[in-house]
Amino acid sequence: MVAFIGRRALLAIPTLIFISFISFVIIQLPPGDYVTSYAAQLRQQGDYISIAQEAIMRQNMGLNDPILVQYWRWISNIVFRGDFGHSLEWNAPVGTLIWDRLALTLAISSLSLVFTWIIAIPVGVYSATRQYSILDHLFTVFGFLGKGVPDFLLALILMWIGFIYLQIDVGGLFSPQYQNAPWSWDKVVNLLSHLWIPLVVLATGGAAGLIRVMRANMLDELGKPYVETAYAQGLSERQVVWNYPVRVALNPFISTVGWSLPALFSGDVITAVVLNLPTTGPLLLQALKMQDMYLAGSFILILSVFTVIGTLVSDILLAWFDPRIRYA
């Protein structure tokens, strides 16, 4: 196993170099550059900068240099000095920008992820063992309602209902008066009263998929002869179901669970935008749209590191959960 991990770690290096370069190129694929985006953004609000000013900005930011030079400047700083560079838009170090938002992002996304799993896995198992029961249908309809309505719209509707019918404060994570206040019991309560909407939105979207997959795989497993044999030997339903079929049915979930790692880091972007959550996702989205390439590039590099680690974690878990799997 150690050799396996070591080999994968070695393979990760060229993969990451390749990813970082291609991403850096792709970020700059749209027409124009950061300065063009900046000028366009100003123009939209009726403000202008002159062509001369644009030229000055380009020169100062080194945007006129060949892309290889820009790439080297960026990657060499990361490799040799651990410096992720400067966001062109915020005129602030990338590390600080991401770091400031990271704690909250991790908290929200891991909470919603765990929430999703806690709901989805038991419900999936239940739906399979009680196929076509009323509850099964209810979960199905509810799940697809979450899946079939865009997260953006669902969040908006929930916020509007919360505001008009429940008369609570919605949007963001805190009411304005708690925004800059020190932590207190009231602030925690206030946080919780805001947190349910993002959790519901994120969980309904994610849970529906997991429920369906769990249910489908469980149905396959439950029909197999070994399950009947187990029942015939007088084992209780709980023992039969949870000991083996669930483990096998979790295979697709485990195959991709590692990819939750990068997702944890960026959070759900669109939901965060509409709910005005101060997470890292909107930062990435904005950076990509503005071609703020040092911020976007560093962000993507971090995400790809997590993707590589996540794949490895999934592979290890697969072997651990399902004894039939062996890596040569």
């Binding site: 124009g32 366009a40 100003l42 009726g46 000013q53 838009e89 505001f163 304005p176 071609q291």
Partner: protein
Amino acid sequence: MNSKKWITALAAGILCTTGLTGLAWAFQEAPMLAEQVQAGTLPPVDERLPTKPTVVNALEVGQYGGTWRRAYSGPGDRWGPTKLMEERVLKWTADANGGAVLTPGYIESYAVNADSTEFTFTLLDGLKWSDGVPVTTEDVAFWYNDIFLNRKIVPTLEPTFAPGGVPLELEVVDARTFKVKFAQPYVYFLQILAKDSTGEPSLDRPSFLFPKHYLSQFNNNYASEDELTAAAKKFNVAAWTDLWGSKGAATAWWSNPDLPVITAWKINTPPPAETVVMVRNPYYYAVDQEGNQLPYIDRIEHRLYQDPETLNLMIAQGQLDMQDRGLTLANYTFYKENEGRGSYHTVNWKDTNIWSLVPNMTTKDEVLAALFADEKVREAFSIAVDRELIIELTQSGMAQPIQAAPVSGSQYYNEELSTHWTEYDPDLANQLLDEAGLDKRDDAGFRLRPDGKRFSLVVETSDAAHAKTLELLTENYAQVGIEMLPRVIDRTQWDNNRANNDFQMHWIPFDRMTYLPADPRRLMGWDGFGNEYFKWYSTDGAEGIEPPADDPVREIWALWDKASQSSSVEEADVSVNEMARIFTEQGWVIGVYGEGPVVNIVSNTMHNVQADLVQDDIFRGVGLARTQQFWLDQK
């Protein structure tokens, strides 16, 4: 002067003084500052204010205190907070009728010589930076020698400050008085100052003034190479020049809380914070008519929002005290219906944008360019548009059907121009197109161009909110046999297409049709119908495309050259009026609608937000309403 016109013309050569004379005043200050004076951390108000502070006549004398809650959309919205507190030697402010008046700010007096080549300014006596250090002509000289003429900080000279290619000259007279001289008459200099301040590094800095006592440590004429490197490191930027520039880490008010300023508020919590906070400047130089030091409001909080819907939700929940940006007319009914819930009301201003179709006269498709050059085709383009329908359906019926011409209220307004070719007449449009030789049609009923291809036009917009307007225009044009292909594209691509002469027609807000001389480039082709022509003109033929010898755009350029060298405003205005006439009569830009309301959300506790002002970049947006005298109800 017609009181309906909201720009009061300024006669050149007059001497104007502000401030209070003869009366002994007892100045009052905000309780928040009085506490600091009590505690001994701040000198008393009389020592902080100039001897004769500038008087800003509040609409209603207000109460001190409170926090003004606002929203901002990120670093790109920097001008939102900036425009709340821009300082200029002379600034556009609203008079009682809502007219725009050039009003002296931190100067005691100014004078212009007879041929408008020399401008004299005298700073207020006792004017101080926000750290209490006096403002003197040393700071002006610092701006001139170490910034304006410093090619490391301002790499190129802007033509605005070098008419005829000769940069302005500065002469310091005494500790408070300085003269600005030009090689040729410059009648519109004061208006340009009011709009652009003194230009680079950024127009968010007060004109002529940079705090020498603080900034010299970051300037290469004062600090050594090592000191500069250390400073860059301290501010976390790559090179010392990054400390300057429009987003300069040390010199932009918005990113450096230590920077001394003369604005009414100064930054306290800079971005990227979730809530950007500004607090009052205890040394602000102005008082109201009763001698109360301004501003009234203690703090301004700008809350970050990422999506316009989030902003709408903040509004409906009553979380904003006054919001002037990010609002759209499409949501007008939404704002109105939630007034009760959010305990606010709307205050409407006048929009100066004229939403227009802009054909690219130099489009790469030569057959199309030839069609655009045909006046009959342009007239057909304009009269084929059912403006009333578009206004009714997309603007809640609240805008005016107007042509791209000076807007009503401007001193250059001319009703004839404003309604030129705006009458909806599809039959006449069809006839005109037939006469222009476009009388053959294909199976689908669309006209054929001289080269036998279908007459189709790709119209680009960068804002999905306008997709519906374009759909209506498509219908209008289909009726006269022109196929319009509306495309909503990313705004960067949109800008790029324009810069690269790679578009056929754009849908844009045509602005700056208010005080034309402050930015006449719109009339001259810039950024629109003749972007390549303007490039050719402004680079003396080095870049861009040369217009045909008889092209009327050449007349416009000649008129501006004449106007900018006139020695009196009256004389110059004759040329400017003529420019506007040629521009509109040529019909290069097809104005569709404009002059609708601009919505501002004002909470019921906020006072002194004047209604019916014009919203225009030239007047610096909300700055026209004199934000120092806004006030909030205190319990």
